[in-house]
Amino acid sequence: MEQQIAELTEKLAALEAAQAMSSTVNSEIFYWWCTGLMVIIHAGFLAYEMGASRAKNVLASGIKNILAFAFVIPTFFFFGWWIYLAFPNGFIPVMDSYGAPWDASMGPNLADNATGVFWAAFTLFAATTASIFSGAVIERIRVSSFLILAILLGSVVWILGASWGWHPTGWLTVQLGYHDVGAAGVVHMIAGFFALGVLINLGPRVGKFNEDGSANELCAHNVPFTITGLMLIIVGFFGFLGGCIIYMPGEQWINIYGQPATLSAFAFNTLMGFSGGIIGAWLKTRDPFWMMSGALVGIFCAASGLDVYYPPLAFLLGFFGGIVVPMAAKALEKAGIDDAVGAFPVHGVGGLIGVLGCGLFASGYPNVEDYPPITLYGQAIGAVVMALLGFIPGFVVSYIMKLMGVLRVPDEIQIIGLDKTKVPVKAYPEGGIGSAMPAE
């Protein structure tokens, strides 16, 4: 009898160990595939940016976009991940080697199945943030300066915002109950406002504005490519949003703040926001570019409360964003700012609607520990923090670059075209698109 009990105990322990390992590996697999899906965001940004460029700049825009991705990865390894873990309290770091690039967790480690896949997911969030900014400045920013700005945004600024407002103990959630599960503020607002700060110093593309201030349309050379790129970005966002929820082996999912949540809630509200954004933009513009941008806007408008909204509310928030954001783009153009792909309206304004919407429609939703619940006040303060955290570094650093004369491609070179100036291959070598286009 005793021997049987011992054998059963041994078998039970083995089963428990196998179950625990299986759960650990499942969690690892989940984030691996979220990361893989997020790479599709970059396929989308690449197509989107190249399509939105004029033919004379198409490859230069592609190079810039690819390099942003390439440089954010190592710099996020060098310091980005550490910033996330070290700054939840504000500007004073918590000194811990976990997350530092020399830590035992930052590489092959048979005792740690989690750090690598979480780092990878966050790295792709970072690269997404930098790519949002990338589209706004096409056709006239120097690549070297752009890369410094992309690293600043992707591996420093947004991740500092994430540490404050997208972290279980970030000061914005601990003190104000800030709630932003889908990163409307920490990714989209920060990227959009950063882009705005740079655009003010960078100036418009040659030929964008007339002397009387009226704007010319510098047509995208391949609108179908741009629209397809936008759809790819949306495919990738399912990986992005999947990476925003925490897989807890053997337990219910939790959101980034530790509150119980389900991936099903994310599914309902992502799709409903997506749909509302397209329909709103369609009614407002009839323009397929804005319809697909509206799809993104719809997701961002619902993003902060993806875990809590009734799906028709997510639809209406998306619909509202789909109408408002094209208007914001017009207003920006009237103000003399040339945002080539609408990065500020789509991400900055869309993200703002998302953050404030959560304060309006999810107030009182409880928090963990004794942290405050969601309030409109907390969301509004969070929105101001995200806007400033994006805008100030973008404006200040690009202003310094402008003073040094290293921010903007000379106007004469813009007229010739960036591809002809510095790209060793031709986009369309057999003629046709772009080859006989007059310089603008």
Binding site: F71, F78, P108, I416, K422
Partner: protein, 57 residues
């Protein structure tokens, strides 16, 4: 040349081949940082030259 810090997986945790000491980790890390930022600097120089060469008279 043997770069592996382990000879079996029994009890193994972190195992960075050829980087099992702070010195080697520092060399690889600093090397990667230098390549990363050096490439941007070099790219900036190349850009300036390309603009200069292609500037219309």
């Amino acid at each position: 040349m043997n770069g592996s810090p382990i000879t079996s997986w029994e009890g193994a945790e972190a195992y960075f081949t050829f980087a099992d000491s702070p010195t080697m980790i520092t060399i690889f890390l600093v090397g990667a940082v230098v390549v990363c930022f050096g490439a941007i600097f070099y790219g900036g120089m190349h850009e300036s030259e390309a603009y200069k060469e292609n500037m219309p008279e």
